[in-house]
Symmetry: C2
Subunit: 755 residues, 2 copies
Amino acid sequence: MKTQPYSSTLLKYIPFLYVIWADDLISPSEIQVFKSAIEKDDLNSEEKKQLLSLANPDNPPTLETRKNWKELIDASGVTLTENISYPLSAFSEKVANYYNSTEKNQLNQSLKAIELNLGIQPNHYRHLFKGTLKVQENIIPYQSEVIDQIMKGDNTEYIDEFRSLLKDAIFDWKLFRDKDAHRAHVLNQVKFLAEKGYGALGYQKAYGGIGKMTPYGSIFEHLMYIDASLTVKFGVQFGLFGGSIQNLGTKKHHDKWLNSTGKAQTLGCFAMTETRHGSNVKGIKTTATYIHETKSIIINTPGPNDNKEYIGNALHSSMATVFAQLIVNGENKGVHAILCEIRNKEGNLNEGITVEDNGYKLGLNGVDNGKIWFNNVAVPKENLLNRFGDIDDQGNYTSPIENSNKRFFTMLGTLVGGRICVAKGALSGAKYALHIATKYALNRRQFNSVSNIQEDLIMDYPSHQMRLMIPIASSYVYQATLDKIIRDYDTVINQDTRKIETQVAALKATITWFANNTIQECREACGGKGYLLENRIGDLKNDVDIFTTFEGDNTVLLQLAAKGVLTDFQSDFNSDSFVDILKYVGKNISDKLTTINPIFTNKTDKEHLYSSEFHLEALRYRTRRLTFSAASRMRKYIKSGMPSYQAFLKVQTHLIVLGEAYAHQMSYKIFTDFLQTIGDKEHQQLFEKLGTLYALQTIKTNADWYLEHGYLSTNKSKAIKRRLERLCSELRPYASTLVDGYGIPKKCITAPIAK
Amino acid sequence: MKTQPYSSTLLKYIPFLYVIWADDLISPSEIQVFKSAIEKDDLNSEEKKQLLSLANPDNPPTLETRKNWKELIDASGVTLTENISYPLSAFSEKVANYYNSTEKNQLNQSLKAIELNLGIQPNHYRHLFKGTLKVQENIIPYQSEVIDQIMKGDNTEYIDEFRSLLKDAIFDWKLFRDKDAHRAHVLNQVKFLAEKGYGALGYQKAYGGIGKMTPYGSIFEHLMYIDASLTVKFGVQFGLFGGSIQNLGTKKHHDKWLNSTGKAQTLGCFAMTETRHGSNVKGIKTTATYIHETKSIIINTPGPNDNKEYIGNALHSSMATVFAQLIVNGENKGVHAILCEIRNKEGNLNEGITVEDNGYKLGLNGVDNGKIWFNNVAVPKENLLNRFGDIDDQGNYTSPIENSNKRFFTMLGTLVGGRICVAKGALSGAKYALHIATKYALNRRQFNSVSNIQEDLIMDYPSHQMRLMIPIASSYVYQATLDKIIRDYDTVINQDTRKIETQVAALKATITWFANNTIQECREACGGKGYLLENRIGDLKNDVDIFTTFEGDNTVLLQLAAKGVLTDFQSDFNSDSFVDILKYVGKNISDKLTTINPIFTNKTDKEHLYSSEFHLEALRYRTRRLTFSAASRMRKYIKSGMPSYQAFLKVQTHLIVLGEAYAHQMSYKIFTDFLQTIGDKEHQQLFEKLGTLYALQTIKTNADWYLEHGYLSTNKSKAIKRRLERLCSELRPYASTLVDGYGIPKKCITAPIAK
């Protein structure tokens, strides 16, 4: 009975060989993993030779041989137990012990190495053997707490404290259908946060804050787990309204307004967008005319469609920061911001002010958006937020920035912090949805093979793994990226922000789109259950949707980012020297565009495909090449007499592609730098895999472009696709740990399907 | 002053040449258009030679020459007028007349031919000349009424009558936030439609219908313009509930129930899905046990999560078609449908029935979805819908279909009509959103070049054209496809429906995803305005979302479609002969997979890229190749001992891709056949362009695959991308006419931004 043709040392490799061949798990490049593992085992040279020949992808064992292996394994009667570490190694040892019971029972290191390094997972072999089918949460080598800690970094203290605060009953989830009730509740939550000191967090110390955006950004993110309406209302009150006073005003404004704003005793709104002017802020029509006799500024809405539109907090505010064309001595000095009281102490609208509710929206109905008209409303000259433009005692306009175009962009530039927060909020929404969908996928069963009584977890379907693992990986890459960018912002604030504006424009667009796509995937991945509002994904979907539009329309932002890249962050895009810059950039890049290495183009082994060197190079190449070709095309058009505005239109779709490529390259680069800072080597490996998945997915999405430019061979392109699917299955056992690693407070996970 | 170097006949070509070179409008392949046009003009051979040399893409005129042209044009002082036919031809004639006033003023046919055939549009040259900027709706050669008529086809009578009916005040748009009020309103609308005879439309004549699905499908589509909740409630009552009686029952059921169902006097629901079993209908747990003593069937919900879930009409119905495992003489005969009264005449729940409201959903809150539990509820044996399985007087089970698996799929197959309607409804939602977004894009202005006072229409941005024109083109392709399929369904009903089931599975998935992506694009294309519920896109987005899940989860359906393709619609997929079939299909296709023609691979001229021969061949190649490789892979796995269920999992993502490829190929093929039926040659040309845009977009989306398989050269792939952008700009002047061509009743367009 207990006879078989292999030596006892070799025998324990047989189940591995069987699995490897049955599930196609070894490629020529991976033979090395196998080789170095057996090298370290206690085998004689004959055994090693035999093993290698049985694992040779160029000469696979015959069907007959494999059938014999299966019989040998089945005859042992050993059953598979998944809820232990290294289940395949353990299984192999047991099979070997059956045939040679004198063997010691400790797990062989070489088997473990193969199991780990080839990324063999139970879903690769579960169907091949008899055994129990348990979710393996408790056996994996990673801990969600460690992951969470790595991500929290030096924000830990703020984050932990805030997570505790969220336990308060005021943050319990409630379903609202009526906007007025919803708005009232959100207003109470905002006031509660202000009382606890979170409203002022981003302001200078003198006004109750810490003078940094970074912790504020983390708070903002966490509010998404409560209600995105709260996130936005909080952002409008403290970030946009308060931020406009902080960034566009001077000490007199800070002293007068920041304390009460941070405490939500003064509620304010940010009145920039107009019905006819959303993306084109420079073209807004509201006027602010200075009258020297009365030392006052008259704010006026000229036409019926020049009203302020979609202004958050419009129905609750007493104050507004109004953006308007400032006219001094009959001359238009461009867009400036002016504080204007719109409601009196009793909460009634001031004379000359009309406010209209925007009504029901697709989402964010807890935010009171409204339209505002100004009918010649006078405010004192002191209300001009005068950091970048002032009116002196003689009634003349003065500004530290001569060029009005530059002044305008400098003013807008101070608001870039809000844009980072929007991206963070959207990402947070995506993480929340991924958490719910992943937990559901680890619970929900549907269909089975004839032989199994229990149906399969939907997480064990390859398509479902792709659907969830890829965005999970991306979410970590983007989180690390935004955390880095917001820290950078804290250090460059009040300095030249042109580069960071470009970065943020590209990231805001890319990440808010990523978030929307991800939430949609999660909704569908949860089937009909995902459609019930109690499961939270529905509202997330509706709320995050508008993140692609507000704080800069994504399509417009990507063009802005591309223009930044094209001018190397050096110059104003509308300057006369623009053509020279294009020439310089084009030449500079063309010199750097290395000839594509043909060996690189064809390399398809795992080590290469998993190497960050390859990823970085591929992503960098794409951005550079797109920059070069955009610059060349535009120069050609402009040289042949086309006005530069038209030349832009001609390359518009090209610029949008460039903007996204830039965001991908930047994100992956930041993530690889971040990897170096992870002390825990085991978890560092996990994060490396997440980065690889992100990079390969990005390259795959643009495979047509890489193929067209000869950067990838057709074989390499196919190899990348296969790798992606394989990598998703390798990461699948860690799905639960990874979404727990987001650290979303338990009380916020109200979705019944995620429990 | 009036001197210039060209002959008067040649002169009128100068503005054309200027535009062509300034905007890069001629490729080597298009020189033929130019050539044949001047061939027909009254030019001497010297002039012809000179003209050809000035239009030679291999040797473009110098910058100096082009500068001179511009001066010559500017000096004429002629301004551009857009609101006339052939504006560039007219402009050219005027410029020529300025220099030679004796010329007659009739438009030259050759110029018109060039303007038309090169697809030169005002947005290609508007910036080059002085002139007025008017939307050119009234000058285009196409009429929305003609387009509408072409699409209505032989359904015209039904559609026109129904559009009139929609004028009734009961269909006025109302915003609901409260589900109970919404549901009550929708129920009234359903009853109104039933009274007018539309409920019974799809039934046999004896029961008030016309025995065809086709007009019913058109009605269904139009309801999407009122409220998707109405569409779905209507579909549940008359299509699912009534349809189950019609298709699964026999004459006794028809006689007893169909009249009152069609009149909505009997309200019913379709109780198939269970909490734990959505996609896997075969695995449902509800039992229906036959008790011969009492001649009754006992319906029972065994476990707490085996309840019927998400059942539409559950809160209003008196009847339910319950799907359950039929147990006769202690033997499970598989899933059958049984009619069960759930509420008595007073509207109270019968004993043993528990119904729970599913609560608020992301959308469709006008539909009353609920959960239903059955606690040993007895119904008479006659209530078994016994077309495919019956219990005889002796208490024995009988069925015309021996094989229980086949019986199950035959029963489900009769319900495929509903799936067609779901695809039609989703498409209708996409069309509605496209109508709104297109009208907005033709009104909304944002940004401008320094020289223009008026800002540009957002429709004139290339990215916006791509965003809207591509889905507009696809909407026509899919409309023609679904209209063909539903007519086919009417002819094959009660026959072998396996092929049409495969087609519908692929189309339902592909078109509902298309619809969701399109509605999302439209939301973003309308910016913040698209986010307001008054503009209707928001609710469309929420309502259509679930169309990807209900009536078959899209991911599951694509696999189903792929399995159909793999078995050549010939055999049950789970049969023993499956491996033989794979072998047959693989061999059969491999014989047909023609070697790729290298000239074809490299051809990039316009004529080729626009030819349906190329498109058909490319789309067919992809489906065949994917079928062949899927079959080969599976055979390999199965041969090496892998169970077929696991082999499917290994190729799951491959099958999903195949399912979509099949839908694309089928749709384009049906559309090209449809083109042949269009009598009006001018409009036929327009439809041809829509088809070309659809095909090129499909090929472009899969360009990586075509490149990997050597089907496209890198140059051809790039050429297709350029063509796509160009084709969108060529179609841009017809955007408004095309969305008017949907024939959406004016009263349904309530969105303020679309007025």
